[in-house]
């Protein structure tokens, strides 16, 4: 009888974490940033159909980076979670916190019990009546949750982009300002000048607190063009 190799739990977890991080780092980043009337999401995504940013419920949205099939599966599960909860109780009883917990448990369980961790990083955001009531949760591949304030970057060069975003962001910015900032941040490169991203390369959506029930809205490229052109006019 052969003895199986002993692998220490530390090594096992580290290997899994490295594997997940590598997978996530390959993808394009997502920027989530608060503005005066809500929360904006932006990412570089040439596809019109395969979204990285989506609506979950009336005031809740979802953004993800990593492997498409894995985060798409989590997104659908989130929509089901929210719709079932809203149906069983009331629409006002569906919260980002509850959903973030469910995701955290799922990601954590997969990370520790299955042979391959999920190569995804998620944001679950809920827009409140005022900017103070907004909630943004960032979830990692291992199920850890961070409660973020103001802005957050997911994916590949998160640290570099987060620095840029920190420099440019302040509370109470207008939508046009945060969209320009987000697009600038997305174009930031480790070495070299900022890439200029065209509206057709971008996927941008907002949770707009002024909308009556469903706050989620995608910004079509025509509107994005307008928002970015103002930039050129002022600059």
């Amino acid at each position: 009888m052969t003895m199986p190799f002993y692998v220490s739990p530390e090594q096992l977890m580290k290997d899994r974490a490295d594997y997940a991080r590598k997978g996530i780092a390959r993808g394009r980043s997502v920027v989530v940033v608060a503005y005066d009337d809500g929360i904006a999401f932006a990412t570089e995504n040439p596809s019109r159909a395969l979204h990285k940013i989506s609506e979950i419920y009336d005031r809740i949205a979802f953004a993800a980076v990593g492997k498409y099939n894995e985060f798409e599966n989590l997104r659908v599960a989130g929509v089901r979670y929210a719709d079932l909860r809203g149906y069983s109780y009331d629409r006002s009883d569906v919260t980002a916190r509850g959903l973030a917990n469910a995701y955290a448990q799922t990601l954590g369980t997969v990370f520790t019990t299955e042979s391959k961790p999920l190569e995804v990083e998620l944001v679950v955001a809920e827009v409140g009546d005022s900017a103070e009531d907004d909630q943004v949760y960032r979830l990692s591949y291992d199920g850890s949750v961070a409660d973020e304030r103001g802005h957050v970057v997911l994916g590949g060069q998160a640290e570099l982009l987060a620095e840029r975003l920190e420099e440019g962001w302040r509370p109470g910015m207008a939508l046009a300002e945060v969209v320009r900032l987000a697009v600038d941040v997305l174009g930031t490169q480790q070495d070299g000048p900022v890439r200029r991203l065209e509206p057709t390369q971008l996927e941008v959506a907002v949770l707009d607190r002024t909308r009556p029930r469903r706050a989620f809205r995608r910004l079509p490229s025509a509107l994005l063009t307008d928002l970015l052109v103002t930039d050129a006019g002022e600059g």
């Binding site: 989506s54 659908v76 599960a77 089901r80 079932l84 917990n101």
Partner: protein, 274 residues
């Protein structure tokens, strides 16, 4: 609901369906109206009554009275029986009120769920077919006298016209031309619609015609309530056009009800109504 404090159970991560009903069937079938065991015996539950719908140039109008009855008693004077199914369609319900309201909630959720998961709207026919499947699922209840009969109307974004669909308890789905009514007062409402409906009506005419039909139904059917000017309870009237679902505000309906009253007063030879 017992799993929800922990990780998402397997049914939540099942692939291959965009339907909330399919998900419920896999996860917790007891939440589906048709899947519950039926107790023996008869139930007297509040009953909703008349719904009318008619097509006009560029959309449909749907209207419902506000009465629910339990036997010979009035169970509610303020019940609402016409709802937005989604942005471009409306659903009205007649029959057992509790089950009908549950059906509407599930149907609204089914359409929104599909929209969120697929990122696009169902076609109008697709929506009508989903509703037919849901009605068919409640056949057992209908055979116990707890029938729910919906009326569905919406704006067909592809064809650019308003369309109306009616259903029977076995899930039969029938597209209606121009106008239709369901519920206890529907016989009288249909007669009224037949005489008053004209091709190419504008929105205000269509709204007035719908109110006329409801008043005619209330005139001859004790289970249908007419406009209650004393308590300021007016029918629920909604239009669905390319601009979406829009409920006609009560102030406007008060005006329409006055016009309808005046016209009927003249017909009765009583001169202008007060």
């Amino acid at each position: 609901m017992t799993h929800l404090h922990g990780a998402l159970p397997p049914a939540f991560r099942m692939t291959g369906t965009s339907s909330f009903l399919d998900f419920l069937a896999a996860h917790d079938p007891s939440l589906l109206p048709g899947a519950r065991p039926l107790p023996a015996g008869e139930v007297t539950a509040p009953h909703g009554t008349t719904i009318v719908a008619l097509a006009f140039d560029g959309g449909v109008v749907m209207a419902g009275d506000r009465r629910a009855t339990a036997g010979s008693m009035i169970a509610s004077r303020t019940i609402e029986k016409v709802f937005p199914a989604d942005e471009y369609s409306a659903v009205g319900i007649a029959g057992t009120a509790g089950l009908a309201l549950e059906l509407v909630r599930l149907f609204q959720l089914e359409l929104e769920h599909y929209e969120k998961i697929e990122g696009s709207l169902l076609s109008l026919e697709g929506k009508a077919n989903r509703l037919a499947t849901m009605v068919r699922g409640s056949l057992g209840l209908a055979m116990q006298g707890l029938a729910v009969v919906p009326l569905f109307g919406g704006y067909d974004l592809d064809a650019g016209v308003g369309r109306i669909f009616s259903f029977d308890v076995t899930g039969g789905r029938y597209e209606e031309r121009d106008h239709h009514a369901v519920g206890s007062g529907s016989v009288f409402a249909r007669g009224s619609l037949k005489k008053l409906w004209r091709p190419g009506m504008a929105v205000p005419d269509a709204v007035r015609t719908a109110v006329h039909a409801l008043v005619d139904a209330a005139d001859d059917d004790s289970a249908t309530g007419g406009p209650d000017t004393l308590r300021r309870i007016y029918p629920v009237v909604a239009t669905v056009t390319a601009a979406g679902y829009l409920r006609v505000p009560d102030e406007q309906l008060a005006e329409v009800c006055r016009e309808v009253d005046a016209a009927r007063g003249r017909a009765e030879g009583a001169g202008d109504a007060p």
